[in-house]
Amino acid sequence: MTGVKALQNKKILIVDDDKDILEPLELLLVSEGFKVDTITKGEQTYTKVTSFKPDLILLDVLMSGSDGRTICKKLKADPKTKDITIVLMSAHPSAKADSKVCGADGFIAKPFDIDDLIKEITDCLS
């Protein structure tokens, strides 16, 4: 926990089209001491990144209307956003391989244990 505590005040943006996912994620990460913001539409990511300036984006891969991989690629290609750590999450088994291709820093498969998620986030941030 000390390691995690050291990462307190880091800002995490969660992007997922499912509110039932967003809610417990937000609760969890807030309780872990992160500053958290959430959005349900992928396209809003770019503006949100500018305003919120997250240290890490927890990005869902398959969302209605947009694709997390495309967003990831775009952010990593933009010099202004390429240093933001991106962790992709997906219920799709093949998404892990895709995450490497699109330049993501980490990947977590849904459903997950929250301890695994915290570990993936802290690993990626440190």
Partner: protein, 739 residues
């Protein structure tokens, strides 16, 4: 001096002598008269000179009177060939004093003609002189006849037929080589014997009585007998007997010509047996088309018995519309032409039609003239049926290939010639007119990325001698399409691949379906994992609170967990329903109920799930329906949750129940985002979810409307949507009103 009595005695004796002499003279006179008038020629010669001839002798020798003969040397009338014999005989006669047996000689008449005679000689005393009396019979005619017979017999010796010459007592006079061959006896064994002792005969045709009568009447008889040869072989003989007469018309014998017909009859019998036992109908007719033979198979094939049709016209078995055929047939036959395997139709007794193959040949008489035709008819109905069946099965295969859009191709690997059926051209979207089918051109049609796959599969098939099987992409004018190809490779005896025969079909649609299925599975698992992920996190959070002793939010978390479990359960139910629909196992438990009650209950149960929407119910007309209450509830829930989900800014939802003819119509109207016209048609399809980048995102499997449509369809109702983009949608379904 002699005594008186003595004298008397002597005188009596003299008288007696005189009397005796007188009688003798009388006798002599009578005897002379008898001899003179005897029909047999009688002459007496003494010391080589004729001393007496009777009238018959004068006639025999062709003289006018006895003066022409008397006192002439006997040798003047004996043929020089016989002079020595006659001299010798005369000498013998004088010494033995006994008459001779009849001897054949030749005499020369006064007119110079030579005649054959039979002579009987006897020594007598004539006018006190030693003399010879001869009785002469003219045997010229008889002898000539017999000689002629013998001569003829020699001529006919060379004939193959047995020629037997017999005298009138049926004694064999001549027995030619043919007879030796036929009966086995040599001529010398049989000459002079009676034929019936040599080879007893039994009549097959004719009788002794008939033969005798016929010969007597006409001089000719024909018949048939059975006889046995020397070796005991049973013979059937055709006999032709002709009388031989002398110049006076007297029968002196007869000639029989005996022909062995044993083999001929047997082969005729065999031929008849073959014809009778043939499976083919064998019929013969004359040039007028009149039937004169009709075998068993013909009876069976056409249903007419031989008795019924013999003597009738062949037209009896020719269908009316084919009667012209017979004219052609007869014309060909008259020209001596054979007709082989002419396939046509003939008609049976019961009017049934028979497919036949005819072979027709001219029939000729002994002189080689065409007198009719023999016709062999084979029933080919079965073959035609099997030909037809084969054609039909080929047609079915062709149809199957066509309707399955399967193209067949044949690659001759020796000549490198490639043949395509129309479907292959269609699959590749190329025209027969412009596309030249070669392997090189074909390879150009393959999607370049898949070319190595093709080469690899071909190599494997040729090397391992396994069927070629491959799915690959091709380039067509309509873009990339998928094809599946299977082929067999044919190898020659050296193991060299010589031919490849294959079938190709377009599987783009199938590939698409496979892709849809895989997409669906992927989405379903994604959808299922989402509530699961949520549940797990709430449970983990709950755990953390337990550990930290902070249980203030646990009721909320438990409530959220229950929501997610319910969501999961609904998803699973939807998936199960789809599976039931697809396998036809969606069962309805119908009952009669008031539709308004169900709608009202549903609205009341859904209303609490939303705090921002107001659902109002307007019942124009209530009706009783016969339906599955749970399934209709499911449809209502789906339509109401959709209305809430897609309402956007519109807060009001209106539910109406109305009547339309014999149907009750339930409609749910929202004032939300609406649906584009082109999407309206597809929203009831399985897995269709309005997916618009501009749109807000909506979770879900996209199964709700599909399941709803299936449920309504099963109730013989209808479901539809009326919508305008941006103004909202009205989903309606109708159900038949219960009777």
């Amino acid at each position: 001096m002699p005594k008186k009595s003595q004298l008397k005695q002597e005188s009596d004796q003299i008288e007696e002598f005189r009397q005796q002499i007188k009688e003798l003279k009388l006798q002599q006179k009578q005897y002379r008269q008898l001899i003179d008038s005897s029909p047999g020629a009688i002459a007496i010669h003494s010391r080589g000179t004729l001393v007496y001839v009777n009238k018959a002798a004068v006639k025999l020798m062709g003289a006018k009177s006895e003066q022409e003969l008397i006192n002439r040397s006997i040798m003047d009338f004996v043929h020089p060939d016989f002079h020595t014999i006659v001299k010798g005989r005369v000498k013998q006669l004088y010494s033995t004093n006994k008459p001779t047996a009849p001897i054949e000689e030749r005499f020369v008449r006064v007119d110079g003609r030579v005649i054959d005679v039979e002579v009987v000689s006897m020594p007598i005393i004539f006018n006190g002189e030693q003399a010879v009396q001869i009785a002469v019979t003219d045997i010229t005619t008889r002898k000539r006849n017999v000689e002629q017979l013998l001569f003829n017999a020699q001529v006919i010796d060379s004939l193959s037929d047995a020629v037997v010459v017999m005298d009138r007592d049926v004694r064999i006079i001549s027995w030619n080589k043919g007879a030796e061959r036929l009966y086995g006896w040599k001529e010398k064994e049989v000459l002079g014997k009676n034929l019936s002792d040599i080879a007893p005969y039994t009549y097959i045709i004719g009788s002794d009585e008939e033969a005798v009568q016929q010969i007597a009447k006409t001089g000719l008889w024909r018949g048939q007998v059975t006889q046995k040869s020397k070796k005991g072989k049973h013979l059937v003989i055709n006999v032709s007997a002709t009388a031989v007469n002398d110049s006076k018309g007297q029968m002196v014998g007869f000639v029989t010509i005996n022909r062995d017909v044993t083999e001929e009859l047997a082969s005729q019998g065999r031929l008849a047996a073959i014809i009778e036992s043939s499976d083919d109908a064998i019929v013969s007719k004359n040039l007028d088309g009149i039937i004169n033979s009709w075998n068993k198979a013909a009876e069976k094939m056409f249903g007419w018995t031989a008795d019924e049709v013999i003597g009738k016209s062949i037209y009896i078995i020719i269908p009316p519309e084919l009667q012209h055929e017979e004219k052609h047939i007869i014309t060909s036959i008259r020209n001596g032409e054979r007709i082989r395997h002419f396939e046509t139709v003939r008609i049976g007794k019961s009017g049934n039609r028979i497919n036949v193959s005819l072979s027709i040949s001219p029939v000729r008489n002994n002189r080689g003239e065409i007198i009719g035709a023999s016709k062999i008819a084979r029933d080919v109905s079965e073959r035609i049926r099997s030909d037809q069946a084969l054609k039909e099965s080929e047609e079915r295969l062709r149809l199957a290939l066509e309707s399955g859009h399967i193209g067949v191709w044949d690659w001759n690997m020796v000549s490198n010639k490639l043949l395509w059926t129309d479907n292959v051209y269609t699959i590749h979207g190329v025209s027969r007119d412009t596309f030249q089918v070669t392997l090189e051109n074909y390879l150009k049609l393959i999607y370049p990325e898949d070319l190595p796959l093709f080469n690899q599969a071909l190599k494997k098939s040729l090397k391992d001698k396994v069927p070629f099987s491959l799915s690959l992409r091709i380039l067509t004018k309509d873009g990339i399409r998928w094809v599946a190809t299977t082929a067999r490779v044919f190898f020659d005896e050296t193991g060299e691949a010589v031919r490849m025969l294959g079938a190709t079909s377009d599987i783009t649609r199938q590939k698409q379906l496979d892709q849809d299925k895989s997409d669906f599975l992927s989405m379903a698992s994604h959808e299922l994992k989402t509530p699961l992920t949520s549940m797990k996190m709430f449970i983990d959070l709950l755990n953390r609170q337990f550990e930290a002793g902070e249980l203030d939010k646990n009721y909320y978390f438990l409530g959220r967990i229950k929501d997610q479990a319910n969501r999961l359960s609904e998803l699973i139910n939807d998936l199960l329903d789809v599976s039931r629909i697809e396998t036809g196992k969606l069962k309805l438990n119908k009952e009669k109920f008031k539709i308004s009650e169900l709608v009202k209950d549903t609205v009341e149960s859904i209303q609490p799930s939303t705090s921002v929407h107001t659902i109002s119910l307007m019942v124009d007309r209530d009706e009783i329906v016969n339906a599955d209450r749970y399934r209709i509830y499911q449809v209502l829930v789906n339509l109401l949750t959709n209305a809430i989900k897609y309402s956007g800014k519109g807060k009001e939802i209106v539910v109406r129940i109305a009547k339309d003819k014999r149907q009750v119509v339930v409609s749910i109207q929202d004032f939300g985002i609406g649906i584009k016209k082109e999407q309206q048609k597809r929203i009831f399809e399985r897995l269709y979810q309005v997916n618009d980048p501009e749109e807000k995102t909506y979770p879900g499997l996209g199964l709700g409307l599909y399941i709803s449509k299936e449920i309504i369809d099963r109730h013989n109702g209808q479901i539809w949507v009326e919508s305008k983009k941006g103004e909202g949608s009205t989903f309606s379904f109708s159900l038949p009103i219960a009777q």
